[in-house]
Symmetry: C2
Subunit: 365 residues, 2 copies
Amino acid sequence: MSTQGSSEKKPPNHAGQPRQSSLAGLREVAVAAHVSTATVSRAINTPHLVSPKLRERIHQAIDQLGWVPDGTARALATKRSYTIGAVFPTLTHGDFARATTAIQQELQARGYTLLLACSDYDLEQEFQQIKKFIERGVDGLILVGENHHPDLDKLLARRSVPIINTFVYSPQTHGTCIGPDNRKLFFDMTRYLIEMGHVVFAIVAQSVQNNDRAEARLQGIQDALAEEGIAVRPQHFAIGQWSISEGRHLFRQVMATQPRPTAVICGNPYLAVGAYLESISMGLEVPQDVSIVGYDDIEVMNHLPVSLTTVRVQSEQVGRNAARYLMARLEDEAIDIPFQCDTEIVIRASSGPPSRKNNPASLSL
Amino acid sequence: MSTQGSSEKKPPNHAGQPRQSSLAGLREVAVAAHVSTATVSRAINTPHLVSPKLRERIHQAIDQLGWVPDGTARALATKRSYTIGAVFPTLTHGDFARATTAIQQELQARGYTLLLACSDYDLEQEFQQIKKFIERGVDGLILVGENHHPDLDKLLARRSVPIINTFVYSPQTHGTCIGPDNRKLFFDMTRYLIEMGHVVFAIVAQSVQNNDRAEARLQGIQDALAEEGIAVRPQHFAIGQWSISEGRHLFRQVMATQPRPTAVICGNPYLAVGAYLESISMGLEVPQDVSIVGYDDIEVMNHLPVSLTTVRVQSEQVGRNAARYLMARLEDEAIDIPFQCDTEIVIRASSGPPSRKNNPASLSL
DNA sequence: TTGTAGGCGTTATCAG
DNA sequence: CTGATAACGCCTACAA
């Protein structure tokens, strides 16, 4: 019956040419190579189970017909799509762009493909995108942060799709996430500034809305300060967008308050660059008048007239390891990757001890 | 990992509930709603063909079972994956990142998903990635540039996958590409500098290896200069990487030559920023001593002590329109989008007329 | 408006 | 090692 069906389905070759009429399939290859479809399938997937002779013949037929296997059919039959979905908050921030590139490279090296979506820091949207990915049959999922839609677990449970949270790490959730310890990272940075003698700190940062990473970093600052009995005054707390112009604006704002901060910690590299550029406009000397530090290292920070102190996160490493971890789980391989990724405080010219005249510490203490 | 894996893999059914045993399918939903599978299928894909009563019952069954349709099966049956593949040279350049974001947004709005790969400016790799995408069953393809692997046409022919080349436009290939007219764009920029009185031009640009866009832009410069009988001297031609530090290096290099250029055209924003920052180190005044202009607008250019003249390309527009064009073709809709995208020369502080003393024109002419 | 019955292109389970 | 043949989960003529 199958023969009947196929003979009726195919539009007749008017031309009489034995060329491919519309789309060559596994079946056509099998016919051309005088073997069964099963053998063709094996020749591609498990070549060692096919005699060299047939293998040769089959491959000849394949690239003679220009056959390209149908991944959707294969996925249906194997329940594996060799596809990984990644949902990032945005792509226009350097760290995520770098991570994405690394993920894609890593996946490609092992025959996987990347599905990508941007949630724009919206949990609901992230959830919908994940759902879409599940529908598309992704084998694994790469997300950012640990804070997701409440229904996510339920959705993932029945499909048992492995998942990894990136750009976060905490000992409590070891094994489910890959990234820097955001809290510790700014804790250390703050300690560095404290040890340098700073007492009045300002924070210029992006919104922590649906951003547990930024939130953790803020917490790190506050924890470090609290140990010294210091708190950030409300007027030294500037939260806004993620841009250079915002950095300028917020910097000017906090520098106009009393007491004037001697150290400004910026939540991302653009804010830091903006803060520094505004300091020039304001005629301030960095770091004599004020120290400026940032988060994440973008190239321009190291090339400005006063290079900017910051903390470098190995975003590529995060992406690469996330991809590797997922693939290892999927292939049931053992893998030993560091879940906590490297970070490094890069001390440059924009940070130094507060000058005596600007530091009201001696007065207020 | 085995302990983790096994414990997560099999969530035992503690409760004796007849809940979903492993994976609910269309069939299960049909049973639960007391209808046929066909009706369920219609209820999701063509709701207007199903009576409200049944529709209601079916949807109830669906989210009671938490059913998520299997996209791979659907794709196999319909020959449509609602998936678009994009291959970019890189993601770490602002323009491509912005375009990618726009593409993803646009696709998502209409239920499509984005497959992404980076070719790293390698034609062979691009070809392999495209092939992979075809295997995965993409409905359409977004590429960059017009220069692709020679076998690409052959590959696409049999599958008839619509394709759109982005970040390029020329009247000759109208309808197959969306982007700026790269040649014209730097032609105009060069004219602007010529009219300002510049005669000695230097070029600081990235490699044109597999980059027809950059090549066209270079051509634009040369064409404009040729009209005035001017050519770029070999010693004023600096080609290198794509980075700020490279920009510094190449700028210093060309400025050390004789005759000293009064205008330096940079092939991308990072080179321009680098060139400007190096000019500071060299103690040069911009634009009195030398004019610096770039390509593409990144935020920092507008915030440096001397803001940088550049040409702005609407990368989001490119991405958005590419996505729309593809979807329109796939849905057999008419669509009227501009294939040539907006560009704008943004004149800022870094460009101006050459000062008399630096301009050897009066001598050489 | 709803149900029935292949079929989409591969893989996988069996025998030979 | 190779060849039939039944899935895989959904869609869609065709019938009712």
